[in-house]
Symmetry: C2
DNA sequence: ACCTGAACACCGTTCAAGT
DNA sequence: ACCTGAACACCGTTCAAGT
């Protein structure tokens, strides 16, 4: 009788590669947050030494940029195409929001390096849909940048809120901030914020983001139709 | 004859204080950039030991938050009031842009902690002007957030670009990125970006920001006038 | 050619010892 | 009460030594 094929080893028969490193990095980042991604933690997860990583990727920034890029590409690939151009751009913008919700560290990463690969993908996706929407060529650059900057701002705030609140209840966190806005001293010098405090504590983040996108799209439509900036 | 008053010592007769630390931090950040702000560098500038700083501020994050807050308050105090509400909101938004141009590290800081003091000031200033502009109450929160998120996105990108380009020529840096978008492989899969490449290299940042603000303001006006989102 | 892991040059923060 | 600065517990990155 021939010797039986040995039970497959649990994992880690595959050689180390840039792809494997990026995948492990995403796992660590999603599970334990931004500050948990160290070369020591990553090399432990990959069952190797910290120096080995440098044979495949130049430095930490390159790991983060590649991880963010991969997730952005996947998120865009999952957006169903829509014959209606306005639905199309909304779907793309919401896909970004959901991506940053699922992987908050991406929001930090996108502000670490200008025009990195992930940003190019986002810019391209937005622009393609603006073109489909019939936005004139001379407004496309500014319109795409505006939408991109808006989503980057949201992503950055979301990332920092997650970093701070991590295990805390998110709504309890916002409630605390809102209560601070109601302090006598703060309220006296910041009447607008005082008035908005309850909305801060109770608003639906995704809905508000979506409304913000609608504001910008309405502005693009108005300016285009109205004959210029 | 009484002994002559001794020549005043060069500096550092004043006691250490939170204010002095924040001022020194701003000086270091402006002169040498974000990564130059270490407790060792800061305590050297203040002619003391690194531990002394902790008697006045809890940690590095608190120093950065206080420094950013101070600059935002100063920037807003310098904005001339304008009887025209639309000019008013534009002036405030441009003041933010100019602040981030002069102190790029502020853009990074604002994404480090959600709803920190500096952000409250910005939110309040934007909201007050929206109120003056006649934006209905129910749209104020979303409208103010949209403008704030837009400027935060711009600030983050500006900060990362400065961090990377620091001594390089900014236009040469953008030219390099734009040329990358024209690479055969990149251009084939990213036709929109390919078409925008020259605008990326040649556009006026401040003008484009201002145009972005106009898009959002036009959107707010359109939605408000048109009866809802 | 790739991996290993100790070593290097930093960090932010703490804390015993001073004044 | 505040300051001092060495020490601690980390980092990212390098590099001689292995395979």
């Amino acid at each position: 009788m021939p010797s039986p094929t040995p039970a497959r080893r649990s994992r880690r028969t595959d050689a180390l590669s840039a792809d494997a490193i990026i995948e492990a990095a995403i796992t660590v980042l999603d599970a334990e947050g931004e500050e948990a991604l160290t070369f020591r933690a990553l090399s432990t997860a990959l069952e190797t030494g910290p120096g080995a990583i440098y044979n495949h990727l130049a430095n930490k920034q390159e790991i983060l940029a590649a991880a963010a890029h991969r997730l952005v590409v996947h998120a865009l690939a999952d957006v169903p195409s829509d014959p209606d151009a306005e639905n199309g751009i909304r779907a793309v913008m919401l896909a970004f929001f959901d991506l940053f919700g699922a992987h908050p560290w991406v929001g930090t990463q996108l502000s670490r390096e200008p025009w990195q690969a992930a940003l190019l993908e986002m810019f391209e996706a937005i622009g393609t849909h603006l073109e489909a929407l019939g936005v004139e060529e001379r407004y496309q650059f500014t319109a795409a940048s505006s939408l991109l900057n808006f989503v980057l701002g949201v992503a950055g705030q979301h990332a920092s809120a997650t970093r701070l609140a991590r295990d805390l209840d998110r709504s309890a966190f916002l409630r605390d901030i809102a209560d601070g806005w109601k302090d006598e001293a703060t309220a006296a010098s910041h009447p607008f914020s005082r008035r908005m405090a309850d909305q801060l504590a109770e608003h639906d983040d995704r809905q508000q983001y979506s409304d913000g996108v609608d504001f910008i799209l309405a502005g693009i439509a108005a300016v285009t139709a109205g004959g210029g900036l």
